[in-house]
């Protein structure tokens, strides 16, 4: 049941990331998606993968995205 | 007995060691790829007779095949690894003088890793391992396409990266389905189980993998990235991408279709796709004024012909396809390398600016001309033998479809002849000298030209030994039972 709620949140977050005009916001929401994926990996009895996803997918990818956005621009133009 | 895993491990190790050599002396870095590829060439030539006699199966880690990754070094494997090592060696000699700007140490590392990835793809016997090496090949080509850091290169690189990533995503989805359906990743083991489950599931899995691999092989309609990527990379990299990378993509497709799935019922469709790719490539090449874009579109056309030859699926057809791969690797590498120095001298990629090059750079122009003639298929060069085999195979196979398609393929060859002769005419018979003084390309570039020209002529005049290897290679693709038994003894 928890898994279902998390999955719904994850898919909504992915759609929000697609719709947001603020790229930094989109990256933060994408991080949420990564984190929920990591929790789902844990539910599926894959602790190694959960750790990798949390440390690489959620933390480092976000850092790389944020640096790239700081070097470019924050808002998607119309 | 030398273990063929060295063909992959030595280039990887040397590439990792380049920064350390760079600490000793910056001048040392550029000789490392030459050393690595020379080693690979010697080893793969040494392995050819052994692999022809009996396919070499080595496991990694010491377990028996379905439980660990194994390498399958049959005739196909040694054939491809010899081509990769040969073209890689010649291009790395060429690059000694050609690559001057940018972070050159990084260029040589990426170059060597690209070739190591290609070696891994053609030797491995495990589908996920194939995917990993395929990613090595793809990611190093993304980085190398953008190596010059100009606008064209960056645009082409990001375009290639996005389309390539979608492609590899599809391949990985297909691999996930294969694992879910059969619970194994070893190619021979999958091939043994493949008929046991519903055909619809197999078909979709095959379609996903073929589509994904088709992006790298630049099969229509997934070829939008190719002209940009191949024309804006440094010329030495264009030679490798056209001469090796797309052929490796075709190899992977052939391995999946013939050996793993044994799916001979979709080959008519693949043949059609091949001919469409051929015609689109040749027609687009005819319209180009930029010489590198012209060569890039011509690669698309050649890949179409190779795919068509494989889709004939008889012994002659596959032999013709492999022969055409050999011819295309040598000729297209020669064309791109020769064009690279002509562009370097004139500072322009327009075909019209090459006027009178036949007098100013006679050896380079001669190399370009021979490469063009061989690609068009004029005797006595290698292209004649390979195209002749393909036509023969299609006619023997018969049937309305293949006869119509081979007529279209010959029409494509005529177009190809038209645009190559136009360039040759510009090189020799137009312009009155111009302002440039006569100056040849440096020795490091002339040596690869010489070797490639000699090989093209030699293979064209005396195709016997090559055909002997290709014959065994074709039967490796056709007889999948022998492949399965060879791995799972």
């Amino acid at each position: 049941m928890v898994a279902m709620v998390l999955i719904v949140i994850m898919l909504i977050a992915a759609l929000v990331a697609a719709a947001l005009k603020d790229l930094l916001g989109a990256v933060v929401v994408a991080t949420l998606v990564s984190l929920i994926t990591a929790i789902l990996f844990y539910f599926l009895q894959a602790p190694d993968v959960a750790m990798a996803e949390a440390s690489i997918g959620a933390a480092l990818e976000t850092v790389i995205f944020v640096i790239a956005i700081r070097k470019t621009e924050r808002f998607e133009d119309k | 007995m030398v273990n063929p895993v060295l063909l992959i491990a030595v280039p990887l190790g040397l590439a990792f060691a380049i920064p350390i050599f760079g600490l000793i002396s910056k001048r040392l870095e550029k000789y490392i790829p030459v050393v690595g590829m020379l080693f690979n060439l010697v080893l793969s030539i040494y392995l050819i007779p052994k692999a022809l006699a009996h396919p070499i199966v080595v496991s990694i880690g010491g377990w028996s095949p379905p439980f660990c990754i194994n390498l399958f070094v049959g005739p196909v494997g040694v054939f491809f690894s010899a081509i990769i090592a040969l073209v890689g060696l010649l291009v790395s000699i060429y690059a000694l003088d050609y690559i001057k700007e940018g972070d050159t140490g990084k260029y040589h590392m990426l170059f060597l890793l690209l070739l190591a990835g290609a070696q891994g793809v053609v030797l491995t016997g495990d589908i996920f391992n194939l995917f990993v090496f395929y990613e090595i090949l793809c990611i190093s080509s993304y980085a190398l396409v953008g190596f010059l850091r100009d606008r064209d290169g960056l645009e082409a690189a990001i375009k290639y990266l996005v389309q390539g990533s979608i492609g590899t995503g599809l391949v990985l989805t297909g691999i996930a389905f294969i694992y879910g359906l059969y619970g194994t990743l070893n190619m021979a083991d999958i091939a043994r189980h493949i008929n046991s489950i519903k055909p619809a599931a197999n078909f979709i899995t095959l379609a996903l993998i073929i589509t994904g691999l088709g992006v790298e092989a630049a099969i229509f309609p997934m070829n939008a990235w190719l002209p940009d990527a191949h024309s804006s990379a440094p010329s030495s990299i264009s030679a490798i991408l056209s001469g090796i990378a797309i052929e490796v993509g075709v190899y992977a497709m052939a391995r999946v279709i013939f050996t793993i799935f044994g799916a001979t019922d979709i080959l008519g469709f693949i043949a059609l796709i091949g001919i469409i790719t051929l015609l689109i490539g040749e027609m687009s090449a005819l319209k180009q004024n930029n010489i590198k874009r012209m060569l890039a579109y011509s690669s698309t056309g050649q890949i179409g012909l190779i795919v068509f030859a494989f889709a004939i699926a008889t012994s002659y057809g596959i032999e013709g396809g492999l022969f055409q791969i050999l011819n295309h690797s040598l000729s297209k590498a020669l064309l791109f390398l020769a064009a690279g120095y002509m562009i370097y001298r004139t500072g322009s990629m327009e075909i019209s600016s090459l006027e009178g090059m036949g007098k100013k750079m006679p050896f380079t122009s001669l190399g370009f001309t021979i490469g063009a003639f061989s690609l068009v298929g004029l005797p006595p060069f290698a292209g004649f033998a390979s195209k002749f085999l393909i036509v023969k195979a299609a006619l023997i196979k018969g049937g309305g479809l293949y006869t119509c398609l081979i007529v279209l393929a010959l029409f494509g060859t005529v177009i190809e002849g038209a645009y190559f002769f136009r360039v040759v005419q510009v090189l020799y018979f137009k312009g009155k000298g111009g302002t440039l003084a006569r100056q040849e390309a440096p020795f490091a570039a002339l040596l690869p030209f010489l070797v490639l020209v000699l090989l093209i002529v030699f293979i064209g005049v005396y195709p016997g030994p090559v055909e002997h290897v290709l014959n065994s290679a074709a039967s490796e693709f056709i007889h999948r039972i022998a492949y399965i038994q060879g791995v799972l003894r």
Partner: protein, 119 residues
Amino acid sequence: MNFLYANTYYIAAFGLIFIGLYIVMAKRNLVKVIIGLSFVDSGINLLLISIGYIKGGTAPIFSRPDISPLKMVDPVPQALVLTAIVIGVAVLALALSLVVRLYQEYGTLDIRKIRGLKW
């Protein structure tokens, strides 16, 4: 409803893959496109892990002596996903470096305003 309940994880995985592919195909901002690629990667990883899952299975680690090997979930997809995650971050870093350089050249991330990027 029963179908949904039985295949929740597959739906999550394919939902993520499709949202990612939609972003790549329909959005015009390069950073957005790369966010889409990372969604596709996560979705495929989730698919692989769900394929390897066995109901009531334990994690494939002999952390206590009483764990029976026959109750473990499949370890191979987990090993594959570890590889796939690292490949994903590698592609992403390379892509973002290209994006940063393109921004320096053109001053925009919109693929309509960058000459050669029409796909």
